[in-house]
Symmetry: C2
Subunit: 383 residues, 2 copies
């Protein structure tokens, strides 16, 4: 198995891109990543996307992007793992390079969500749940996460206000990120007064519907320095799943897929959680942040919220998270988010973190979650 | 790069499965392939599927199938390459085993198309075309292929009747395949009198809308004989793309992606076309069969139809095609078809071809095509 490194990254701003199509965004991120690597044409392209069929009437998306990025002919496939699709595309790209099948591979995550009315988007996102046994009853992801948040509050004795630090930190970090959707701070009062979506989840507990694309270029580690002086090594890449539905789980507050994929990643590297310098986690809702910190073994069970309250997640804390705004404030174009996390982790490890640079970081973890944490893809990157 | 072999295959009958859901079909094929390999639980599952989001409101499909097949926890991702999705899943499974990331991997192709009215299905299939520049004008795949067939007839001097051998052979081969949808022969008169869909394409030039799933189990070749006495080696696995739209192509009658993927496969093996004993090709329409034979270098330009008329494609001919009925008569559950082809090729190479066994075969090619031949995945298998 060949070692694999990232030699280029690219991203579009996240937002409501009324003037840019699905293809525009994908091409922009792909070409930016290639330019960063000093490359004209890759050998293969893996596209992470969740719902372009439902929201843009476009499947065969990888072929489209290879064509319009300027290199029809290459191998190109789309990878889907619900909201973890962008990270899953990086995973498959890593397999392609590790195997020796390809040397120069682009993974791009992309989603265009704002071409449809919001109820259509909510229905499209619900396809990540079990269509027959969950979505058919009208349950949305906000509702499912609200069940978890309520249970978490009751079991561990928290109030809604206790979740505020996740949101405040994410927005604070987004202010100086030119690619972020919400570049403004929020106060504890803003958080407490924000309108309810599905109690106890308010609009400010939730990540936004938006558009964006992010891409990385991979190559064998032993060739990486011929492209860039700052390659970043993929130390681990691991996917795991759980039951797709919530009902069969023994413990609703345990993210088994997130735990398992993090642990496979730890095993691949020999690293322990305390050796990870920052964590790009999947803050689709505040409750997901708390449970992710616990599943990846950064906080004890029931202590994810306390971990945030104790300021460990700040950019100068012991485990900075969502260093460029996270899903909450950078934005969550679903099939792209996993790729954004990896782009941001690479930027940190290269010292390109800007005002949010994590000091002296050498190891970063990015974890992307799909469905009700029914699938998780974890990468550990290092320099 | 580790050599990879197939150690088990499974399939459901193809048809209109009113009583079976998307998940039922996927689980049935997956468990059949595992049973054939004598395995309980694989390390990873790659699911080929094109339109479960649009037709069944189900994404996150790989997680669903891992869960309901009895092994939540494993790595599971969905792969999409339009109608070539099933073959693309085998391609990614091959990368996963070749890389050393996994030892025991299932690739399953699956599609459930009959839960929706036919106009909905036609629209869903049109998502494999360029949504903005082709599908938006109302062009369907039957219409696009009709353009090609008309041009082919005019350029090379054929009539509609000349295409009959593809259909007659496919149906003949399906008669004895218990998994085929149309187990009846058709005559040249049936073909000539069949109703037009988009002139010159008639209903009998076209493959049917249907449901089905097919699966294979892969492992490193050096472990294959511990699972089965009849492993089949993946000698080559290659994907290529072309422009997604027809308009920009220099020659509408040249399947560049099919040519390129076949040639990458030939190069991986060192084999020449005349060393291939049979060819599971993508007969979505009769014109696609003709152009596939030419792109894979089994027939000269303009001679694909003549090749069929000269009976070379019969089960005793020099290049049997669609040996179990092909897309036309076994059926074409789009995201599953590429996996069916590989299951059928494995059966031939194991001597399990039944009444349609190709004598003394040692090398078989399976080629799956997506969109307007904008993507193609070619496998060469051997014993």
């Amino acid at each position: 198995m060949r070692d694999v490194s990232i030699i280029g990254v690219g991203q579009t701003p996240v937002g409501e891109h009324w003037a840019h199509s699905l293809r525009d965004l994908g091409v922009e991120a792909t070409r930016a990543a290639l330019a960063d690597a000093g490359l004209e044409r890759p050998d293969a392209l893996f596209v992470g996307n969740m719902v372009s069929g439902l929201l843009c009437q476009q499947e065969n998306l990888a072929t489209l992007l290879a064509d319009f990025s300027g290199f029809p002919g290459i191998e190109a496939l789309k990878i889907e793992a619900a909201c973890a699709s962008g990270a899953a595309a990086v995973r498959v790209a890593q397999l392609a390079v590790a195997s020796g099948a390809h040397d120069l591979v682009v993974a791009v995550g992309i989603e265009k969500m704002t071409d449809l009315a919001i109820d259509g988007v909510t229905s499209a996102l619900a396809t990540a749940a079990d269509a027959d046994y969950e979505a058919a009853h009208g349950v949305t992801f906000t509702a499912l996460n609200a069940l978890l948040m309520r249970l978490y509050m009751e079991r561990y004795g928290y109030t809604r206000a206790d979740f505020a630090p996740f949101v405040i930190t994410a927005h604070e970090n987004a202010v100086t990120n030119p690619y972020a959707m919400f570049r403004e701070t929020v106060t504890p009062e803003d958080f407490l007064n924000s309108p309810m979506v599905a109690e106890p989840i308010s609009i400010l507990d939730s990540s936004p519907v938006c558009d964006g694309a992010a891409a990385v270029v991979l190559c064998p580690s032993d060739r990486a320095r011929s492209f860039t002086e700052q390659p970043v090594k993929i130390l681990a890449s691991a996917t795991a799943t759980d039951t797709i539905g919530l009902a069969p789980r023994k413990d609703l507050l345990w993210f088994g897929a997130a735990y398992e994929s993090a642990h496979r990643a730890y095993r691949q590297t020999g690293l322990r959680p305390e050796e990870v310098d920052f964590f790009e986690l999947h803050d689709a809702f505040t409750i997901v942040s708390a449970l992710s910190l616990e599943a990846a073994c950064f906080a004890e069970r029931g202590q994810g919220v306390r971990f945030a309250q104790e300021c460990h997640i700040h950019r100068n804390g012991k485990l900075p998270i969502c260093t460029q705004g996270g899903l909450k404030a950078r934005g969550h174009p679903v099939g792209a988010s996993g790729a954004y996390q990896i782009v941001e982790a690479v930027n940190q490890l290269r010292g390109h973190g800007g005002p949010n640079q994590v000091a002296n970081c050498r190891v970063g973890m990015a974890q992307s979650i799909g469905g009700m944490a029914s699938v998780a893809v974890t990468h550990i990157l290092g320099v």
